[in-house]
Subunit: 354 residues, 2 copies
């Protein structure tokens, strides 16, 4: 059994979508046990629509629901201990759940996750990893928005964590990892990125295969299994790509509507469009994974539907089944053990300065 | 007459493409006078293919051609004064040309342009501005890769320069300008971006309409006329979007090939696909504009064809016709005059510290 806690109140549509997602997920992954946190009066009428859920879920009432526009600090003050978001995360901490899923606002969810679960030993900062559809399949991109900026050591941590996630998700033994950079020679990129590249080359790890620098168009090409960057650039790259996909789809729809011939052509070529839609469906790759905390939290897109929410649940399910947390912990421990002999306190200081 | 100097040797295909681009441009803009710099033995056989060019161009032989993989510093050492790239830029400096066009390597072209033309008064750093196809039409994005990082004052300069370019290109009186940022509340973005936002709000300029922060997906949506960011993020966002467009096109092609029905459908809907291709054609928006130098230099994509090269020439042509340089100069002068009374040397110091 995989135990998943759900913040039913998160997202633009609240329990309407999250509980539908739970229902879909249960049909597909019958070995999930759900613990659901939400406001009783809102959730119960919706749960009544899914009678089959009854025996498979445990429901806990929470007074507080975090709003989508709430600032992280405010959410933390108002929602700690009491909100559905907090309680879903806390279930992971108390080992009542293996993973928590929420479509609530990212800033609040990250603030609460950090506060409740704490950052893992050997990790300076958590990151959010996203799954990006590519020409070759799927890649992992991190950080897509947990923090602004990252130094070379943090980029190295991200590389290790992303590598562990790739092993858990793609069943590849030694995933390739690239550092996102610009293609201009000589001034090639930020100092931190260059330094992280040097550290990764020197570390010569057996858990990941360091590929070198990659550029923005390498992400969609699937040049590497894991693309590492700091949260500002990662977030903007992700949204720029999403925007482009939406834009092309809008252009195509408008162009097809213009003539009867094009409409008929569209119907005949529908199988092709269905494949395209399937490949680029943002719902299928829904689910940002918070990495680097003592527990797994999955952020579902706030505006998704039940199908997208079920995909986010599936990401959490896979992460638990494939021992993501244990993999990250082992990889980081290995790297840091190799790097700093724990018996030498002076080296520890050097480590702290990095 | 608009005078355009051409570095014929730049680009993956050299004069084969650049001279075809010149021939196409001359058919469309008969009021251009070209000054072409290149290696005689390579260029003359190609020029012979376009007999109509003969009276409309002046050709200068140059011994040195800058390679696509040459480091900026090396290119500068080897190619200063002697290379086709240098001489095309120098023609602008000597007022023999109004704008220079090259498909040569970006780093070398920027290094030479800075060295030869020098940065404008009131500008700390040049930027490269790109034209981005959007749902609403076109937007300007800068910096797409001139330098890594930018402080708040530089982001403000970029805003003014991008605004001037939008007025020159889109014929809009007071273009909207947005600062690229991430959507997470509270930790909202880099300090420099927040500070630049404050400066732009306070400046309350009549040449641009400051919109506020925009996110990655706002670029393709066309939320603002001008999107401002530093070169690392701008370059990666641009390439991530280009990669996504290519990826979708690959998916669609593969899907259409799969069934006869889809192929027939494609042929019937061809008009729609042609519109899409036209809208998203990277050649049509080819041409990065170097802003902030005492002269205009246009960077054509290295891998483009004659049609794309002609589009880059057209961008330069439009910039000159619409007085881009004068507009930038006037806007910057106005802003800096308002900000720093030139009579007060103490304020100048404060200015220098910003």
């Amino acid at each position: 059994m995989i135990r998943i806690s759900i913040d039913a109140m998160g997202g633009d549509f609240g329990p309407e979508v999250s509980l539908e997602g739970v229902a879909i997920a249960l049909l597909r992954q019958p070995d999930i046990q759900f613990i659901i946190y939400g406001q009783e009066d809102v959730c119960q009428p919706i749960l009544a629509k899914y009678p089959k859920l009854k025996d498979r879920i445990v429901f806990h009432h929470c007074d507080v629901a975090i709003r989508m526009d709430e600032k992280p600090s405010q959410a933390l003050r108002r929602g700690r201990y009491a909100s559905s978001m907090w309680r879903a995360i806390e279930a992971v901490k108390l080992d009542e759940a293996d993973v928590a899923v929420s479509a609530g606002n990212t800033g609040a969810l990250m603030a609460m996750s950090k506060f409740c679960l704490r950052t893992m030993a050997n990790v300076e900062r958590p990151a959010i990893a996203g799954i990006w559809p590519t020409t070759r399949g799927e890649s992992i991109v991190l950080d897509i928005g947990a923090t602004i900026g990252a130094d070379s050591q943090q980029l190295l941590d991200f590389s290790l964590m992303g590598g562990a996630m790739a092993r858990a998700l793609f069943e590849v033994r030694r995933p390739t990892v690239g550092l996102l950079n610009v293609g201009v020679e000589e001034i090639k990129g930020q100092e931190e990125v260059k330094e992280a590249g040097r550290l990764l080359r020197e570390a010569n790890l057996d858990t990941i295969d360091y590929h070198g620098f990659v550029e923005g168009d390498d992400i969609g090409r699937g040049t590497v299994d894991v693309v590492v960057t700091e949260g500002f650039t990662g977030n903007i790259a992700l949204k720029a790509a999403e925007g482009t996909a939406r834009q092309i789809s809008d252009f195509l729809k408008a162009a097809i509507k213009r003539s009867l011939m094009a409409k008929i052509g569209y119907l005949l070529a529908k199988s092709a469009f269905d494949i395209l839609r399937e490949k680029m469906d943002p719902r299928k790759v829904n689910g940002g994974v918070f990495l680097g905390l003592n527990g797994i939290v999955i952020k579902s897109h706030g505006g998704t539907d039940g199908e997208g929410y079920a995909a986010a649940i599936k990401v959490g399910y896979d992460m638990v089944r494939n021992g993501l947390l244990q993999k990250i912990d082992a990889d980081l421990r290995k790297y840091h053990t190799l790097r700093v002999p724990p018996s030498d306190p002076q080296d520890e200081n050097v480590n702290g300065m990095l």
